[in-house]
Symmetry: C2
Subunit: 135 residues, 2 copies
């Protein structure tokens, strides 16, 4: 049986930045939806490129944001060790030209898609756990 | 640049059954939530053990079900190949004693938790993609 140890916010963001891929969780037509994407961490913002644009636009609040969750994990199936980090926060289309150019240069989408918007996710709520063997 | 190829329902469920771990996506206090768990596939039902019980109970409809998404993926970071499968469907506590005993024997939770309910997720909507190199 394994043990879950909570991780600090700093450690969570470091771990998130150490992997290229995570999963964005959002609501689409009132149903829970999840999609794997690649990401980068820029300070307190997770940046992804995806075609959530339609979803974002259709369910956005007045300031153009929707709340999403973003998850990444590394789990060693043999040893039953690893970690999982979940960030919950407001997601917005990045419209600022300077940031847009920078992110588009740093973050290549894996999949060819005509709708690859650049989206920033605020790290409002950050939780993470290390999974390790109990003594 | 990679290419996404849609997979059949059968192939999706086979792939899901081929890995022990996925991520359950649900709504908790009106926020998107996600948690890695281990699973088994029993026909058209995904079975997990988790402490979503409180969440299930608090947001359940008349028949005790909530709609969740369940995702699993295998992604080769070097080659940029792999697959992702997402199942969306009604999740219900398994209360039938025979099924409960069988699942509890087959599915050991990784993490020691006093609230490990057994939950069945109907495979109502199954989508999956293979990620491969474009030619």
């Amino acid at each position: 049986m394994a043990r879950l140890t909570p991780l600090s916010r700093e450690r969570c963001l470091d771990l998130l930045a150490s992997v290229p891929v995570g999963r964005v969780v959002f609501t689409m037509r009132a149903l829970p939806a999840i999609r794997p994407v690649n990401h980068l961490v820029d300070g307190d913002t997770i940046v992804i490129r995806s075609n959530l644009g339609t979803g974002l636009a259709s369910s956005a609040t007045a300031d153009g944001a929707v709340v999403v969750a973003y998850e990444a994990d590394v789990i060693d199936l043999e040893r039953r060790t690893g970690w999982t980090v979940v960030v919950t926060g407001a997601a917005r289309l990045v419209l600022d030209e300077e940031r847009l150019n920078r992110y588009e240069g740093q973050l290549q989408p894996w999949v060819d898609d005509t709708m690859n918007c650049v989206i920033g996710i605020d790290c409002d709520l950050v939780t993470g756990y290390e999974l390790g063997r109990a003594g």
